[in-house]
């Protein structure tokens, strides 16, 4: 298959797009010339080609470097899928491949099934696999509460006696595992699931992760980065934990008393000169960390207040917007990196939070939808980074979550769910999914995935129910 053969020569169309890019050097050419070059392309294909031409940047530097060369190779591969239909998927009304629900569903179900012994290297990532599959299945409209008993059995094994969750039985507690566990438990819901969390021990664990500079380490003796801050706040908010640091929290010795002490300023320090957000102060701006940073601030309070207070929002928007790759249609994670389907969520998911702070209409939903449907679906099921790559549950989850961000519009409104979330990091409970998006629509009804909570990235109802339960049962 062409997609798996990276040594394949660039297609004629690729040369053509490069020619459009070179237009700057051939100013006398008329713009329509290129459309006549289509060979036997069918109607859909020519519509796709016309779209790609319409978003191609007509400037191309001659100066070649390693970056521009791999960039060209990638574009050649991606174009085959954006324009034609090499997977032979059935097409929707817009001429794009339909979302292969049944195939993706069975891929995700398999991903939480049993693994052969040689898969031991994913031993510490089992909470992630669980979260990615359950969220992916939820996006596909599946009822995941049927997994409740197995989720309980899984996370009882992973819970550490001193609080928090680890990758498996006897593993040290880790904030990534804690994040994945909390979200998975919230997704299956129900008292038995909620009650398997030792909240008091969790509170102590989170207290041990809090650092004097405001951030959080991922594990005892582990790295401090912005994932830690986000994951900790997600757990605190969903479980309605007190903001007061526990008495045994080491950060108390440096004078901190509250989980939020110095946190906003720490997130500020992660905003780079490019406007994006990095793992930790001084590092490079990166899409996945942008979502973590914005998620963290959106839990601390209404995004309009917190984003504007702690970030330079115009340069943030500039950086996020720059992540949209043309004409690939998907996002990349950093300046001059390659398009990758997981950023459909990491960047695509930022927009609801940013728009709540800065106003609507910042991004190109249609183009991203196109990348996900045309270039990120694997023939046999599951979604991928880019054509030529193998599917995995991480890229399946985040492409589907990205598609959800494309198709639904969210509004932050204090009056929504005003019966809950009045204190203890309650801000994220006041979102509502407003309507399905019409603008830039390239998906049919059969391609619509479920709405997803913009901060927690699980179904909104699951987040609300979990918080409601722990507001009704706040004691330890």
């Amino acid at each position: 298959m062409a997609a798996e053969d990276s040594s394949a020569p660039p297609s004629a169309r690729f040369e053509e797009v490069l020619t459009i890019s070179n237009r700057i050097e051939e100013l006398s050419n008329s713009e329509n010339e290129y459309e006549e070059m289509g060979t036997v392309a069918n109607e859909h294909e020519s519509a796709n080609i016309a779209f790609i031409n319409s978003i191609t940047v007509p400037i191309r530097d001659k100066f070649q470097t390693e970056t521009s060369m791999v960039q060209d190779d990638t574009l050649g591969e991606v174009l085959l899928f954006l324009e034609g239909n090499p997977n032979d998927f059935p097409l929707n009304n817009f001429g794009l491949p339909q979302l292969q629900r049944a195939k993706h569903k069975s891929f995700l179900e398999k991903a939480i099934g049993d693994y052969e012994p040689h898969m031991a290297p994913l031993d510490a990532a089992r909470p992630w696999y669980t979260y990615w599959s359950l969220q992916g299945l939820s996006a596909l409209g599946e009822d995941v509460s049927t997994y409740r008993d197995r989720v309980i059995a899984t996370f009882k094994q992973c819970q550490h006696p001193e609080g928090g969750f680890g990758g498996g039985y006897g593993h040290l507690p880790h904030l990534a595992a804690t994040y994945a566990a909390t979200l998975s438990i919230a997704m299956v819901g129900g008292e038995a699931a909620y009650e398997c969390i030792n909240r008091k021990a969790m509170w102590h664990f989170l207290g041990r992760m809090k650092q004097a500079d405001g951030g959080f380490t991922m594990a005892p003796g582990g790295e401090e980065d912005i994932r830690g801050a986000f994951c900790a706040l997600v757990a605190m908010s969903l479980l309605n934990l007190p903001l007061e640091l526990p008495p045994d929290a080491p950060a108390r010795q440096q004078g901190l008393t509250n989980f939020l002490d110095n946190l906003g300023d720490w997130v500020s320090r992660c905003q780079t000169y490019e406007g994006g957000i990095s793992a930790a102060p001084g590092n490079e701006a990166h899409g996945a960390y942008a979502f973590c940073g914005l998620g963290c601030l959106s839990i601390m309070g209404p995004p309009k207040e917190t984003l504007n207070k702690y970030l330079d929002v115009p340069s943030l928007i500039h950086c996020l917007s720059s992540r949209h790759c043309a004409p690939e249609c998907g996002y990349n994670g950093r300046t001059n990196k390659l398009v990758d389907g997981c950023y459909s969520h990491w960047i695509g998911g930022c927009w609801a939070l940013v728009e709540a702070a800065a106003g609507k209409g910042l991004w190109n939903r249609g183009a991203l939808g196109r990348y996900i449907l045309s270039a990120a679906q694997f023939k046999k099921g599951g979604l991928i980074d880019k054509p030529g790559k193998r599917p995995d549950s991480y890229h399946t989850c985040y492409n589907l979550s990205g598609l959800s961000a494309v198709q639904h519009e969210y509004v932050f409104d204090e009056d929504v769910n005003s019966d809950i979330g009045q204190d203890n990091l309650g801000a994220p409970f006041h979102w509502k999914a407003e309507k399905q998006v019409e603008e830039g629509k390239v998906w049919g009804d059969e391609d619509v995935v479920a709405e997803t909570h913009p901060v927690f990235v699980i179904p909104s109802q699951a987040a609300t129910d979990c918080r409601k339960y722990f507001e009704a049962n706040p004691g330890f």
């Binding site: 970056t67 521009s68 089992r126 197995r150 094994q157 582990g222 000169y273 102060p281 300046t335």
Partner: protein, 328 residues
């Protein structure tokens, strides 16, 4: 590699392995562990429960890491043990080196290295090691982040590091990680996050980024750098107008004559700051319709801000006039 077991090893006869607890239902993403992995984990759990830090624990962790290098618990416990035993950390680094190359994207390995080098108190050999890693993957996030930690920890904000970074940018002027590292060296270290930057440093940095842009004007990395330097130094954006006009000039050159969409983007902000709204709108229109149409809605949003700004200024001017009238 030969399989390794502990149950018949006299060195471990005093330890009862802790098997994995079961909670009834079949767990999700369950792995059919090999007997070897399962047993080794059982002994590790027993050691952790007893808080044992010993040479045999080091051997055990090395064994498990060989079976599963992404096992953060084992790495963290190994680091604790090395520290408790006052082990030879140089030997640990020598052991780590070949492993790192195989697992460039592994968070644990880089964090472990950081913990060890921090304890060792010397960066000797590390810059060369990192450079070898970047030869394999010139934009690896963990490797660059580790280098930033190293520079900060050992105060390496010096000419040598800057020279090395220039070499990385020379190799690939589009390597944004190298640009970020340059920023970190120039503005993130001794200068401090909030402090004033020397004028000659600002001039040097502006020239450096401008030279890079002239090589490949559609490369966004140095454009972002340029904007960053202006913002950081407090200079007005208009300081870049003359330079940006080399690549686009919505006022005086035909619309076809644009050599960088990033120049238009910058000019739009320069014009807006100077109150030349019409020119700003023209630059944004060129971006939206022709030079960067995938971001059309974003350019339209920026136009919307200009109009809002314009209205604000009008009301502002009107009320200022009202105040003047009243004062007269």
């Amino acid at each position: 590699m030969a399989r390794k077991y502990y149950h018949d090893d006299p060195k471990w006869s005093d330890v009862a392995p802790l098997p994995q607890e079961d909670y009834g239902h079949h767990p999700l993403a369950a792995i059919a562990y090999t007997e070897e992995y399962s047993e080794a984990m059982g002994y590790l759990r027993a050691c952790m429960a007893a808080n044992e830090h010993s040479e045999r624990v080091l051997e055990l962790t090395e064994h498990i890491i060989g079976l599963n290098p992404a096992h953060y618990t084992v790495w963290l416990y190994r680091a604790q043990t090395l520290s408790a035993l006052n082990s030879d950390l140089r030997a640990e680094i020598a052991w780590l080196n070949p492993t790192a190359l195989q697992h460039l994207k592994n968070y644990q390995i880089w964090h472990h290295r950081q913990t060890i080098i921090d304890k060792l108190g010397s960066p000797d050999g590390e810059p060369a090691f990192i450079t070898a890693m970047l030869d394999q993957d010139s934009k690896n996030y963990h490797v660059w982040s580790y280098r930033q930690w190293l520079v900060k920890r050992f105060d390496m904000f010096d000419g040598r590091e800057l020279k090395w970074t220039e070499g990385m940018i020379d190799d690939d002027v589009r390597n944004n990680s190298a640009w970020n590292h340059r920023w970190f060296l120039v503005f993130g270290g001794t200068v401090g996050e909030g402090e004033k930057v020397e004028r000659d440093v600002v001039v040097r940095e502006l020239e450096y980024a401008q030279d890079a842009i002239r090589k490949a004007p559609q490369n966004q990395s140095p454009w972002n750098y340029l904007r960053g330097v202006i913002r950081r130094s407090g200079l007005p954006l208009s300081a870049l107008q003359h330079f940006a006009l080399e690549f686009a000039d919505p006022e005086n050159r035909p619309d076809d004559d644009v050599f960088s969409s990033h120049a238009l983007d910058l000019l739009a902000d320069i014009y807006a700051a100077a109150g030349k709204t019409e020119l700003a709108v023209k630059a944004l229109d060129l971006l939206a319709t022709r030079y960067d149409p995938i971001r059309k809605t974003y350019w339209e949003y920026r136009k919307g801000l200009l109009e809002a700004e314009g209205r604000k200024e009008e009301t502002g001017a009107a009320s200022a006039a009202a105040v003047e009238t009243a004062a007269a």
